[in-house]
Symmetry: C2
Subunit: 222 residues, 2 copies
C-alpha cells in the first residue's frame, strides 16, 4: 500500500475562520442554516422539496442551490415554495465558506427563517469545507451501498444527522442497515440516523421533527 | 443567479503536462491505461471485477485503487485475478497525474498489459485532472438519474465511453434512457454508450469487446 498525500491544511484553516464569520452573521440575522450533502443522485433535491412542503407553514424558507452548472434544482425548489438562489461553482467540487457568504449576501435574510444549502453532489470535498451551518446533514441512498462509511469516513464523522434515503428500493439492493449503522458508529457515536423515502413519504415525519426541534433549540440560545 | 468562480487553471495546466509524461511512459512500457470514474456507489468495483474476469485470459491486469481511505477494493480486485495497488489520497477528492505516476512507479509494469485506475468516487474533480490514461471511462448507475449530464457536464464531455450500470434495477427507478442519451449527445457526440448490469452480466460482452478493440488498436500505433 502506498500513501499519496496532498497538503491542504492552510486552505482548510482559512476556510474555518470564514465559516465562523458566516455562522455569527446568520445568528445576528436569526436565520437557521442547514448544509445538505450527498453523492450525485442520492435524492437531495426530492428530499429538499418534501422537507420544504413540511416546514413552510411554520417557517419562511430559502435555498442556496450549489451546482457546478445548470439551474434545474433552483427551479424545482421554488415550485415547492422556497426562495431559491442558484450558485454556480464554476467547476469547483464544493461550496466553501466564502462562496457561501457571497451567496447569503445576495439573499433577503430579513425575510427568511431557515436556509438550506444544497451542496455539490460529492462525498469528499464538501466534508472538508465548513460553511458555517448550524446543522450538517448528509444523505446516503440505499443504492450506494452499506460500505460507504469505510470509503468516505470524514463525511460521516462531521455530520450531525444521517438520512438513509430511497428505502423503498431496498428489495432490489443488497443493503444491510445494521452493517451500515455499525460502520457509522465507529466514526460518529451519537448522530441520529433516519431511514426514509422522500419519494413515498415514509419516515419523513421523524426527520422533519428532528429538524424542527433543532431549530427551536437553537432559537433559545440567541 | 450568481456565479461563484474559483480559479484553478494553473493547477490544471501543470497537471496536463504531467499527464502527457505519464502517457508517454506507459507507451514505452507497452501498458494500456484506463481511468475509471463514477459517483460513490455506482458500481465501479463490481464492474472492474467482472471486466478483469473477462480479460484475464488474454491480458495481465493491474489495478491502481484510489481511495480517500480503506483498502477494501484492492482486496476485492486481487481476488478476481488482478495485481492491485492501493493508493490513499489522504483526503483528496481525485487522483492527479503526479499521484498516478508515483502509483505506477510502485507497480511492476514489465509484467502487466493493462492497468485500470479506479478513481475516487466523484463526478466533479476526477474529470478535471487528466491522469494520462489511454481511455477515460465513466460509469453512471440507473439510481443516480437521467439528469446527471446537466449537472456534471465536464465528466460527460471528457469521457471516451459511458457505461450505464445497474440496468437490472430499472423497474424501480424513473430512468429514461432516451432522455439521458439526448442529454449526453449535447456534450459528447460520439462516445459509445453501453447499458449493462455488472451484477447480472447483462450487456457486459459489448463493453468488453469495445475495450479489447481499443487495446488492439492502440497496440498497432506503438
Amino acid at each position: 500500500m502506498i500513501h499519496i498525500i496532498e497538503t491542504k491544511e492552510r486552505f482548510v484553516e482559512d476556510n474555518n475562520l470564514e465559516a465562523l464569520r458566516v455562522n455569527k452573521y446568520l445568528n445576528e440575522k436569526h436565520v437557521f442554516f442547514v448544509n445538505l450533502m450527498a453523492s450525485p443522485g442520492a435524492g437531495k433535491t426530492t428530499l429538499l422539496v418534501k422537507t420544504i412542503e413540511a416546514l413552510k407553514k411554520d417557517y419562511r424558507i430559502g435555498v442556496l442551490e450549489a451546482d457546478v452548472d445548470s439551474s434545474i434544482d433552483a427551479e424545482t425548489v421554488e415550485k415547492a415554495g422556497a426562495i431559491a438562489l442558484q450558485a454556480h461553482t464554476g467547476g469547483s467540487c464544493h461550496m466553501d465558506a466564502d462562496m457561501t457568504y457571497r451567496g447569503l449576501l445576495a439573499m433577503d435574510l430579513d425575510h427568511l427563517d431557515v436556509i438550506f444549502l444544497e451542496n455539490v453532489g460529492n462525498l469528499v470535498c464538501p466534508a472538508e469545507f465548513d460553511v458555517g451551518a448550524h446543522k450538517k446533514v448528509m444523505i446516503l441512498s440505499v443504492p450506494e451501498g452499506d460500505d460507504k462509511p469505510l470509503k468516505y469516513p470524514l463525511m460521516f464523522t462531521i455530520s450531525d444527522c444521517l438520512l438513509i434515503n430511497k428505502i423503498d428500493t431496498k428489495p432490489v439492493f443488497d443493503f444491510d442497515e445494521t452493517k451500515l449503522e455499525n460502520n457509522v458508529r465507529k466514526l460518529n457515536e451519537k448522530m441520529p440516523i433516519y431511514s426514509l423515502s422522500a419519494l413515498t413519504g415514509e419516515g419523513m415525519k421523524e426527520w422533519v421533527s428532528w429538524l424542527k426541534d433543532s431549530i427551536e433549540k437553537w432559537r433559545t440560545t440567541l
